[in-house]
Symmetry: C2
Subunit: 321 residues, 2 copies
């Protein structure tokens, strides 16, 4: 099978490739997009490499899901409504089973969020997946990292740390019974981007970021860009019952520096507490209050008794770990 | 050096990262773009892999140029005005000499075309470069592959075949004296995207495509999408004096199936001949009339005496050649 057959068979779909947003999709030099009046575009791009962002053991279907999910998560953190994506795929060879599974997983998630695959590129080469996602937001309403204010509440969605726990099992440093492993593995391989929550937080959250490199590091970006500090309550960090049953040190590692969580961490004025809970209910996404923004720069993590923990934290860095 | 230092040192520039189009560039989850009223967005993405799209012998500076040039070429073929790009880069290791050269080459071309690098991603992994480019075009004026009409003139810009000739030298099937080799190597490594020409052809060309996989194959996409055929005059195909001095068979191979030309092939009504020449003059880009669109499907190549050539042509396919 050649390049054009491959695109035609697995990635070009006659159905939803033209509509209000996409005037022209796959099949020309460029896709043509018509912006909605009064809106801005949000754009993000993520490159996934085997051994860094996924393991060789992942199923193609789950990989297709995850490749799009990590991009949707960036869009969610900005409060965007997803519209289109562009897929670049380098493959060592044309592997039809891989392509069938990968495209199924990708399109299932794309369809769930109304995203159209409007273009891309395929080539032979070491396995590499790059997706660029575009979404829209009403003018001036994008959620940024830079808006956190002193005394804002600090919130996080969903559960933290399961993906890292799964990685530790794959690395052989932890062992888990089959069912527990399946659960944390699903967190690692099938993250659910918090698109509905991000949208519901427009005009409400003062700042937001998605947790992809670990809570401490990603929260650090908010603090840095907002020129504030934060106090985080370790005991309030939401965790699964599987992770909650692990040794204290491992829990901390997974919760604070885990990576691959794809939850949203965000700030909002304390007076908006009930509005945040209402937005979360609308978005059918659990949220938890985990701390507070402070004037003093830096991140302080306290235990259940309010004691400051001495933590040297390292968030995930693709050229360091 | 870590991922964030790398981005700060080589890719984040304080100057032109915010303006009319880019409300927010590098440094948040998404870039925020403000569309110009009455315009559509054109988007294209290209992935470059060593050994497929460039050789290990290319200088980092030229590679940075080429990675953006191939994307700008897609935009040129659609008649777009370039605005922003997004760079994903997988590198085996942090190589500062590579990064310095690569980013210099990329930014030199970006600046020449007013393109802002508004975001991206970096990771460790086998060398892979993916750029997504976005440009704008007045609503409804994008040049498409599908508009060629019977009796339209067939045009091409610049010179064809030199990049392929350079590749044959690298492959050892041809040898050239130093100066001639430098010239064709420059065509391969420093292609000049025809952005000004594409823009000048808005409302004038009935169809267009950029020649990246070889003239015959890329023209074939216009014929297929426009449901027409074409007659091409081999003797009229523009070539450098270096290529013109090569054996006839090699010339044909390079001119018709070369690849990596990044010239525009386009069609326009015969009555618009002088307008096309005027547009080319405005864009300071030479153009050549090389044939005509015909009703009968397929591509017919004729020699200087008008004799039909029997050619079995194969355009470049990343999973075949």
């Amino acid at each position: 099978m050649g390049e054009f057959d491959l695109i035609a068979r697995y990635f070009a779909r006659p159905g939803p490739t033209a509509g209000a947003t996409v005037a022209l999709g796959i099949g020309d030099d460029c896709a043509v997009l018509t912006p909605a009046p009064g809106h801005q575009w949000l754009v993000s791009t993520d490159m996934l490499v085997e051994g860094r962002h996924f393991l060789s053991t992942v199923s193609p279907r789950r990989l297709g899901h995850k490749a799009l999910a990590v991009n949707l998560s960036d869009l969610a953190a900005s409060g965007g409504s997803p519209r289109v994506c562009f897929l670049s795929l380098a493959l060592p060879k044309v592997d039809e089973a891989f392509l069938a599974g990968f495209s199924e997983g990708l399109f299932a998630l794309a369809d769930a969020h109304g995203v159209v695959l409007a273009g891309g590129d395929t080539t032979a080469g070491p396995l590499n997946i790059n997706i660029t996602i575009m979404g829209e937001v009403p003018h001036g309403q994008a959620l940024l990292r830079s808006g956190a204010r002193v005394d804002d509440d600090l919130w996080v969605s969903g559960l933290l740390g399961d993906a890292r726990l799964a990685l530790e099992v794959f690395r052989g440093t932890v062992s888990l019974p089959g069912e527990a492993f399946d659960a944390v593995r699903q967190a690692m391989e099938l993250p659910q981007p918090r698109v509905a929550l991000g949208r519901a937080l427009r005009g409400l959250a003062s700042s937001a970021i998605d947790v992809s490199d670990g809570l401490a590091g990603d929260l650090g970006h908010i603090l840095h860009r907002s020129q504030v500090g934060a106090r985080l309550h370790l005991a309030d960090l939401p965790r699964s019952s599987v992770l909650g049953g692990m040794p204290e040190d491992l829990q901390r590692l997974c919760l604070l520096t885990g990576g691959d969580d794809y939850e949203l961490v965000f700030t909002a004025a304390a007076q908006d507490r009930s509005r945040v809970l209402e937005a979360a209910r609308e978005a059918a996404t659990p949220v938890y209050r985990i701390g507070r923004i402070e004037r003093e720069p830096g991140l302080r993590v306290v235990d259940g008794e309010g004691r400051l923990l001495d933590l040297t934290l390292q968030s995930f860095d693709h050229f360091k770990s």
